[in-house]
Amino acid sequence: MKKTTIATAVLAGLTLSGLAQAQTLNIVSWGGAYSDSQQKAYHDPWMKKTGDKIVNIDKSANALAGLRAQTQAGNVTWDVVDMLPSDAIIACDEGLIDIIDADKVLEPAPDGTPPSKDFLENSLGECFVPQIVYSNILAFNTSMFPKDKEPDSIKALFDLENYPGKRALQKKPINNMEWALVADGVAPDDVYEVLSTEEGVARAFKKLDTIKDHVIWWEEGAQPPQLLADKEVSFASAYNGRIFNASVNENQPFDIIWDAQVFELDGWVVPAGKLDRVKDYLAFATATPQLANQAKYISYGPARKSSSALVSTMDGTDIDMKPHMPTYGPNFKTAIRKDDAFWADHLDELSQRFNAWLSS
């Protein structure tokens, strides 16, 4: 009799916990200042609201490789993955991630605008929900140049005479080839058209040749602010948010050259078969207030129009975030939108050529 009671109690307990089951979500992202902003804007409020546990995994740099490997092994442990749209296109085509019907899964804007209208034009993918607009920019340490000779154009990157010193650039063809062409006189809007031709590619490499011996190649997003702070380099290409955070939080004398910034989106994808499990989190994290909140912690523009209107000052300071956003008018004049379709087609070949160029 007693045994039965206990058994019933245990069973009841199990059922109850089953109803309001707190789960553990493995969320893959980029680490550093960026993951911190996600932690504060999305993860902490979600954990408080539901009791879920969120584990951060800093693997976004190799997210596509990870998804392929986990899928082939038949053991996908990731629940939500932060990814670039170009990788998301490939993952979606290969069936590695779930198709997301934005209007069914995501929250509408506070005024009722459906997600498909509220997110920036052409930003939602078949399998991809954008969070932010970020930018690849060139940054420099202001203490390394005289006040009256601070660089403000992408041409400075290739101008060793007036701006000597090493340059830190990301070890991949993307951004570098675009900048080489713009500095060589190509209009930002024509960059990808020129780059589609053999002459354009040769021209870009020829321009890169002029600074090759002065470049330190970086691979992790945390490296460029470090190299700038150590004064190992005069210029570094970087993600604009990292430079902003280093200059605000760590008082580093960094400044950004917005000329020819290469901007793109970044957002969430869900590994195949996981959508039901993470639907609620995804809807919460990409809702208008959460996206607006993230901009309190890092200078990336929210991907929802309804959130952009809410962007105000940085958390705990009175710094207005708007002028630090890639999409802010004056910053945006000569911006290049990274052409995901171009790079999806040409990254294999140009990477091969870039690697051969590096070691020649």
Binding site: N62, L64, A65, R68, I90, C92, D93, E94, G95, K172, F205, I216, W217, D230, K231, E232, A341, A344, D345, H346, D348, E349, S351, Q352, R353, N355, A356, W357, L358, S359, S360
Partner: protein, 420 residues
């Protein structure tokens, strides 16, 4: 184990069985028991060594994407003679394959695979698959070409025909900087795409250099260790082993702190006025960095085998040689050195093979000019995601190591290796 032939045939044991059979039975039982003891090791070797290497070798020629992702097209194109553009049946098969492949999302893998070989194939395939709905009906040939002009390219169909086979040599060709020309001939890649052969050669000669440096540095140390009295010798031994027990990453990053431009060594040189502040030496993120750090890291692997061999050489031999009239150089060259060859061989092959496969140290301190072929394998695993190519490069590296081992066996003999 067999019985001596002169054993009388008629002998039996106490229970009446023939002696021979009984003995064989006992021996077999022993063998089985011994086999049981090594079974865990065999199982471990199979799981952790033979299967992964087998799967790597397999992956370097395995080519399932096109034949599985475009099954009808693969079959239809198989007996195309390659003269004119393929006929209507091939295009009809392509249409069907794209339709099913797009619906079950299997076409993406084909697109990724073919894009390695033919830049732009990704958008040709995916774009056509997306727009299939616009087509009204046969003839499919004209219809597909109207969707994307690339479908009218002769070279593209040659490439599809080649890659539709279930196995491929493309990865191996790419690993040695070759490729298929559109007509199917194997040709060298254009100069601006050549990379792998150079890295293979660099990996080999830098590994030899590191081995030689290790030998030069280790020989006197090992000699000292072997000849010092026990107390001092032990202390010295601890000094050799201490870095050996320290994490590889710690030792590598220590070299960064020492060698970088704002690092310890440059600071000392500047403060001694050997060099000016604006002419600090670049000693890391290049070949020098790789050679210095790897020589240091691999040094114990040379010292220990040398030491174990030298320890067994009686001190009296050298004295005897000297007392018989040999000068110090002759005594060393003709008496001492020949006896240490086994140790040199063991240390060298150990350091050389470890060095060829090293990956993390060149990645951290090698920059561009100090990069090894192993770093490229990692790159193809993680970044370019071309796992077939990574497997092909790794397989070639494996063959190179096996050849080195065979040459070594021929010259010195593996049975002479002494590790302690």
């Amino acid at each position: 184990m067999t019985l001596p032939s002169d054993t009388p045939e008629g002998l039996t044991t106490a229970d009446g069985r023939p002696l021979k059979a009984s003995l064989e039975h006992a021996v077999r039982r022993h063998r089985l028991r011994a086999l049981m003891l090594v079974l865990p090791l065999v199982a471990f070797l199979i799981v952790a060594f033979i299967l992964p290497i087998g799967s790597m070798l397999w992956r370097s020629i395995d080519n399932p994407e096109v034949s599985q992702g475009l099954p009808l097209t693969s079959r239809a194109i198989a007996d195309w003679d390659g003269q004119e553009l393929p006929g209507e049946p091939v295009y009809a098969a392509l249409y069907k394959d794209l339709e099913t492949g797009y619906a079950d999302r299997s076409i993406g893998r084909v697109a990724s695979r073919l894009n390695y070989q033919y830049s732009g194939m990704r958008s040709t395939l995916m774009g056509s698959a997306r727009k299939l709905g616009r087509l009204e009906g046969p003839p499919w040939k004209a219809a597909m070409i109207s969707l994307d002009r690339d479908w009218g390219e002769h070279d593209l169909w040659r490439m599809i025909q080649r890659e539709a086979r279930p196995w491929t040599l493309s990865y191996y060709l790419s690993a040695i900087d070759m490729q298929y020309a559109p007509n199917g001939d194997i040709v060298e890649k254009p100069g601006y795409l050549q990379l792998h052969v150079k890295l293979f050669v660099r990996t080999l000669w830098m590994s030899m250099l590191i081995t030689a440096l290790c030998l030069v540095l280790a020989y006197p140390v090992a000699y000292l260790l072997a000849t010092l009295p026990a107390g001092k010798g032990n202390l010295l031994m601890i000094l050799v082993l201490l870095p050996f027990w320290t994490s590889l990453l710690v030792r590598t990053t220590t070299w960064i702190a020492i060698l970088q431009q704002q690092g310890v060594l440059n600071d000392i040189l500047v403060s001694l006025h050997v060099i000016g502040n604006d002419e600090r030496l670049q000693m890391i993120y290049n070949k020098t960095g790789t050679i210095v750090a790897m020589t240091h890291i691999l040094l114990p692997f040379m010292i220990l085998p040398l030491y174990s061999v030298m320890k067994t050489i009686p001190v009296g031999y050298m004295r005897a040689a000297r007392s018989l009239g040999a000068g110090p150089v002759t005594a060393f060259r003709r008496v001492y050195f020949p006896q240490t060859v086994a140790g040199i061989g063991a240390g060298s092959i150990l350091v050389f093979i470890l060095s060829i496969g090293y990956y993390i140290t060149p990645a951290l301190v090698g920059g561009e000019s100090g990069r090894f072929i192993t770093n490229l394998i990692a790159y193809h695993m993680q970044t370019s995601l071309n796992w077939g190519l990574a497997a092909a490069i790794a397989s070639i590296l494996l063959f190179v190591v096996i050849i080195c081992y065979l040459v070594y066996n021929r010259l010195i003999g593996v049975d002479k290796v002494k590790l302690g």
